[in-house]
Each structure stands twice: as structure tokens, then as C-alpha cells.
Symmetry: C2
Subunit: 411 residues, 2 copies
């Protein structure tokens, strides 16, 4: 296929918008793992892949895979990947853009002679919505999917294994049919930033240095529920006043470290009545930092601040750790090559830490992995208004083409 | 009836505990307006009233009333009152104590010659649970119950008027059958404090100077919901960070004025997910002060502080006033007489503002009204563990007896 009067960027965006019409919920884009909408999406993408002369198959974890052979037997493999499942009421680009943009790149180099094969994988599960845990696909292709995970149930009591079987797949074959080619020497995920940094900095693209580590905790502040009229201020043990003081501390502390983000996103107050001094507050804490040591230090400091805010009011506080996830660096050399490719293509990419988790984080410990971010207008994602600009998509296509053109498999 | 080997205080407490067993919900005390439990409570209290040689009747708002005649036709009337309905899963004393303690006092003066009649009213509705508005009974006896209020429905779609009819009453007769005696010259409500002040000050009793005014508002902080990992701190518009800063301000500001209480009791966060920067927070504000001017000034200052906390973060804040209720002073002379009576009885009562609303607040604009508070152990109320001590109940009985003994109707 050659470039039509519509540009390759327009075509890429149009295909993402076509895919967004394949949904379980009419009027919005909701496409969970192994839904009928997944089957429809496979059908459409497989058609585009086939038109691009790629060999397609669906592996036993439900991932749609396409292979561009270079002609040399046992050639090394370059991997492109991203995911095609969505959150509920999603936009068109979180995930699908990485798959469709890679397909555009493969179409653009249709006649090129390359010293490696290219595999493109459309992961069917990344968001973790249906079975309440994320990265199912990338875990499957790196041999990390456990029997416990295969036994997890969705809201209707259907296990992962049953869902795979119902989709016509054989979960017993996951290890063999999903494994990455043994000689995969480079992997690239293109993804929207889902944050406001590129827009704030006026850049099209960022090269991701690492995916930050993350701590998730729940803090419970326990005071005394009392009558809001009959209890003078100095005799209160107000769990919300303590939590609010601490939430302000969290914000102030995180503002002092440019690489740190700390978020209290969920708050539940008991009894949560306007005329009762709050007795109990449960609050979430989400802390992310590219340095694991700095993240642990930040969590410890924020827990101390919670203790102080509570003690001061005769309130008790208890913290429970829900998740501790280490930072995952992208491959140093491959990331440098990606940045150089962007510059050769005429762009000046930012270097960013990804604050969000991505499949790249699961693959990176197994194959050299790099990640390219596109600007997210308004920082908007997980929302029907999520968008990308044609200019930024062209920047990502041009960068990826330059990256592929210069890529040398190890000798 | 004369004092038995059990003291009059023990008897008073025991009767409150007997009443607490009359409930709609087995295993707890829940007695809503005009429930079958109300009928049972009427039966038991009417029996005690009859044994005390009082004339009893139920008025057409469902209030149980007892009259002690002094023998002189058209004598002036002293009124005792409190309520016998409860909140769900209540204690035994919030309301019933004021009725039963007044009955004990009437029993103690069985043979006394007084220059006035005494009416004791057990209000059947104060808490506002069944029909979602409070003070139904005291409004009825002061001619303030409106047709709109009679048309209000409970959770089963039954109106106040229907509920009265079903109970065997005639709502059309409320004006005539409920009105207070025209020559009522004094009214007294005895009630538990429901707060921690008397306990903190080591006193048995307080004389209530006024019931504080109250403002209730809802503030809505609107920022932007964003990805907690992908949005750096300085690019956030975190509605919860703004609200939390303000909640700390509310606490700090109210601590500076001993007569002011300000409470944020209810907080609702959207989307309320640990990994999303909060986009919207709705928070209640309850402000009470014995001075209406000071209360209005406090509300204005707290709204300014909300503006500042929001602006600083690029967050928008909007306030909606739900309730503005003026402070209601108790009768100055009657309150002084009550305080002197307590001193003659050997006690040293505090002077308090009531932070909670009471029927006394509804009656005070119509008849000279005073109010006596008993210490609440642990400040506990609206809770099954709500209690009173025998010593404090005796203090309230002795004070009320001294008050009655010295009371002179106007010439």
C-alpha cells in the first residue's frame, strides 16, 4: 500500500476512530478483554494486516499477531506492540494508536529490505478491567501468567481460562503459542502520554527513560464521631480534620520534588453526615518516583506526617500497603537510538518518566524495550474526548521509520 | 406515690430504660413518630401518669399530655416537655429523660399546694427521622405546623395527615386540640447535654442561655480529574487538595473563637479512585454560634478561605446555602430563676449555649422557656451506650423541685 491523498497520519487516526466504533456498549467505546467487540476488532485489524501482506494469527492468550518476514530464515525479530482493550467509556487512542501506528510504519516500508523480521502484537488485555488485574497479555507473552491468574473470575464468575476457551482458544497452549520469538532483539511501544507534560512543554514527542515505581496504601484515621453542635472544637477528635491536614501535607511535600507524584484520590468518611464530627476516614495514597529509594523515603515521610496530623487531634492512624512496584528502566541503548531517530526526523523529544504503567514495563526485563510518547491534548485520557493531533502522529511515524531504518540487529 | 427504697433518680433512670425496650426494631431502640412502638410508649407513660393522679389525653398531633390541676379555675400553667421519639438505634435518655424526670418531680410534689396548674407534654416527634423534618410536635402546639408539612411523606409514601388518621387522630383538629393553654407562663425542658462540655468541666448541670444559630452549606470544588501517575504536581487542578486545605482552615479558624463550632462532616469525592487526581469534591459546612452576626461573619470568612484555597490550585468553588437558622435565646428571667434554683439545691450549674436544636427553640418565641442540661458521660448521644449518672439525675430533680417551689405566676 502506498500513501494515498490522505496522509499516513490521517489514515492512522481514521483507523483508530473506526476501531473505537467496535464496542460492547452502544454510544461509547468500551471493549473489554475477549468480548464480542474484541472479536470484531480482531477482524478489522486482521483485514488491514492481511492487506499489508503480513502473516496473522491469534495466540492462545487472545493476542492478534502479525509477522513481516525479511526472507532470511531465523532472522532476529523487532517487536512492535500495544493493546486494543479499553477502559469503560474510553477514547480512541489509548492502546490502539500504538498498534495502528506500527501497522502504518510497516505499510510505509513495504518494499524495504531489512535484516530482521518484524512482529506486531495487538495485546487484547492491558487495562485490567474485566478480571481486575492488568497486563494479562504482556504477562502471557513473557511467561509470567500464573495458574492463579488464569483462575481469576470476572463479574459473571467466568474465569480467565473459561473466557479463553469460550473465545475458541486453548489456555493449556499459552506457554508455547504466546512466547515471543527467541531472537527478539528490540521492542517498541508507541503510546499517548495520557498526561499534560508534553503539551505544557510544547513538544510533540517524548522518549521514555523508565516507568516509575509505585506504592499504593490505604490510611485509616480513627477519631470519635460526635454531635457537630454540641462538641466544642477543643474537645473533638475529628478524623477528617486530621486527614485533611495530612492531605495538604502530601501535596506540599510532593511539590518539592519534581520527579515525585503523590496523590490522595479516594476518601471515605464515616458517618459522612453534615451535622456529625467525622469519626473515621479512609484515604488512599498513591506515590510514584523513578527512584525506588526516593519513593520509599517519600512514603515513610508521608506516613510520619499522617502520624503527626493524627496525634495532634487525639486521632489514631493506621496504614496498610496495597502495592509496592519497582521502577522499570527502558533499555538504555535502544532508548538512545529512539531519541536519535526522533532528532534525525527533525524533532526534539523530551525525556520523560512514565507515571503510568504500560505493557513495556512487563516486557522490559525480558527483551530490550523502548517507548515513545505522543502529546495528549489537554492531558486527557480514559475519556471519550481523548485525542491526538495529526502533526504529532506524523512525528511519531517519522521517528519510528527513522528508528527502524537505522536499527541493527546484534551480530 | 412516695419515694420507695430505690431513690427517685434510680426510678427515673429505670423508667427510661423500660421505655427504651419499646421499639420498632428488636435488639435496639428505634421509635419513630406514630409507630406501634409510640403507641406502646404512650400506654406505659399514660399508666405512670394516671398512677400520679394526672388527667391524660392524646392531642391530634399525637402528643401525650398530662395535667395536674391546682384547683383554682383558669389557673396559669407551668409546662414541662420533651420528646419520646428516637433516632434509629438510639440510647434511652435523649428526650424520654425530660418527660420522665418531670413526671418524677410531679410525683414528688403530690401533696403540695401550688398557685398554678402543671401540664406535662410528651412530644411524639422531634428528631425528624420519619418525615425528614424535625420539631413536628412543638410546631403543632405553637400553631406553626403548615399544610405543606402535613402533606410530607415518609419512606412508604404515607403523609403526616394519613399517619395521624391511621393512629386514630384527626389532623383537622390540630389547631384546637394541640394549642398550649393560653395562660402558660413558664415552660421547662430538661435534656441531656449530648456533648462533652459538662464532663470536661466536672459539673452535673448547665442552664441553657440560648440555642445557637446555625448555617448549613454545601461547597463544590471543581478541578480536573487526571491520571495520578501521568500528571506532575505543578500541572494539577486537584479538587481534593483544595478542599483539604480549606477543611484545615475551617478547623483552625473555629479553634480561635470559643463560642464558634464549624464542622465539615460530609465529603464526596469524584471519581474517588486511588489512581485519579480528584476532579470534584462536595463538602458540607455546618457553622453554629450564639451570635447571629458572628456566625454570618464566620461563614463569610470561611467562604473567602475556600475561594483562596481553590484559586491557588486553578480550582473553582461554588457554595450553596441549605439552612440559615437564627439563634434563639431562652427567657432571661426564667433562666435566671432556674440557675438560682440549682444553687439553692446545692449545685453550681454551668451557663451553656446549646449547639443542638431542641423543642425549647420552637416554644421560646411563644412562651417563656428555660432549659436544663444534664451531663452526658463521654459526650455520647444518638448511640445505644448513651447514659446518665444517678447523681446527675438527682441534681436535675432537686433543681427542678427548687425551681417549681419558688415559681410565681405573674399577677
Amino acid at each position: 500500500m502506498t500513501t494515498t491523498p490522505e496522509t499516513r497520519a490521517t489514515r492512522t487516526i481514521a483507523r483508530c476512530r473506526d476501531l473505537a466504533r467496535l464496542t460492547e456498549v452502544p454510544g461509547e467505546t468500551t471493549r473489554l478483554f475477549l468480548s464480542e467487540a474484541t472479536r470484531d476488532a480482531h477482524g478489522l485489524i486482521r483485514m488491514w494486516m492481511t492487506l499489508a501482506n503480513l502473516e496473522t494469527r491469534t495466540d492462545d492468550a487472545g493476542n492478534l499477531r502479525a509477522l513481516r518476514r525479511c526472507g532470511t530464515p531465523n532472522a532476529p525479530t523487532l517487536l512492535f506492540f500495544s493493546h486494543i482493550d479499553t477502559v469503560p467509556n474510553a477514547g480512541a487512542f489509548d492502546g490502539p494508536l500504538g498498534v495502528i501506528l506500527a501497522l502504518t510504519v510497516i505499510e510505509e516500508i513495504a518494499t524495504a529490505q531489512l535484516p530482521f523480521d518484524i512482529e506486531l502484537i495487538a495485546f487484547s488485555e492491558e487495562e485490567g478491567v474485566r478480571f481486575s488485574f492488568p497486563f494479562l497479555s504482556s504477562k502471557a507473552v513473557t511467561g509470567q501468567l500464573t495458574p492463579e491468574e488464569l483462575a481469576k473470575e470476572d463479574a459473571n464468575g467466568i474465569t480467565v481460562a473459561q473466557a479463553l476457551t469460550n473465545f475458541g482458544l486453548n489456555p493449556a497452549n499459552i506457554a508455547t503459542s504466546c512466547a515471543l520469538p527467541a531472537n527478539t532483539f528490540a521492542a517498541l511501544e508507541v503510546h499517548i502520554e495520557q498526561g499534560p507534560v508534553l503539551e505544557a512543554e510544547g513538544r510533540e514527542l517524548a522518549v521514555v527513560d523508565s516507568i516509575v515505581g509505585q506504592s499504593r496504601l490505604t490510611l485509616t484515621f480513627t477519631g470519635h464521631a460526635n454531635h457537630a453542635g454540641a462538641t466544642p472544637m477543643h474537645l473533638r477528635h475529628d478524623a477528617l480534620a486530621a486527614a485533611a491536614h495530612w492531605i495538604s501535607d502530601v501535596e506540599r511535600f510532593a511539590l518539592d520534588d519534581k520527579q515525585l507524584v503523590a496523590t490522595v484520590g479516594r476518601v471515605e468518611v464515616q458517618p459522612n453526615a453534615g451535622n456529625v464530627v467525622p469519626g473515621t476516614v479512609r484515604a488512599s495514597l498513591d506515590v510514584r518516583h523513578p527512584s525506588d529509594d526516593d519513593r520509599h523515603a517519600a512514603v515513610a515521610m508521608l506516613l510520619t506526617k499522617a502520624e503527626l496530623a493524627a496525634q495532634h487531634r487525639g486521632v489514631h492512624v493506621q496504614a496498610e500497603i496495597q502495592l509496592q512496584q519497582k521502577a522499570v528502566p527502558m533499555d538504555h541503548n535502544l532508548t538512545a537510538q529512539l531519541a536519535e531517530a526522533a532528532e534525525r526526523a527533525g524533532y526534539n523529544p523530551l525525556r520523560l518518566f512514565s507515571g503510568a504503567g504500560h505493557d513495556a514495563m512487563i516486557l522490559a526485563p525480558h527483551v530490550p524495550t523502548a517507548m515513545l510518547f505522543l502529546r495528549s491534548p489537554g492531558g486527557l485520557s480514559h475519556h471519550p474526548d481523548e485525542s491526538v493531533s495529526e502533526e504529532d502522529v506524523e512525528a511519531a511515524i517519522a521517528t519510528t521509520l527513522a528508528f527502524v531504518a537505522a536499527l541493527q540487529p546484534p551480530q
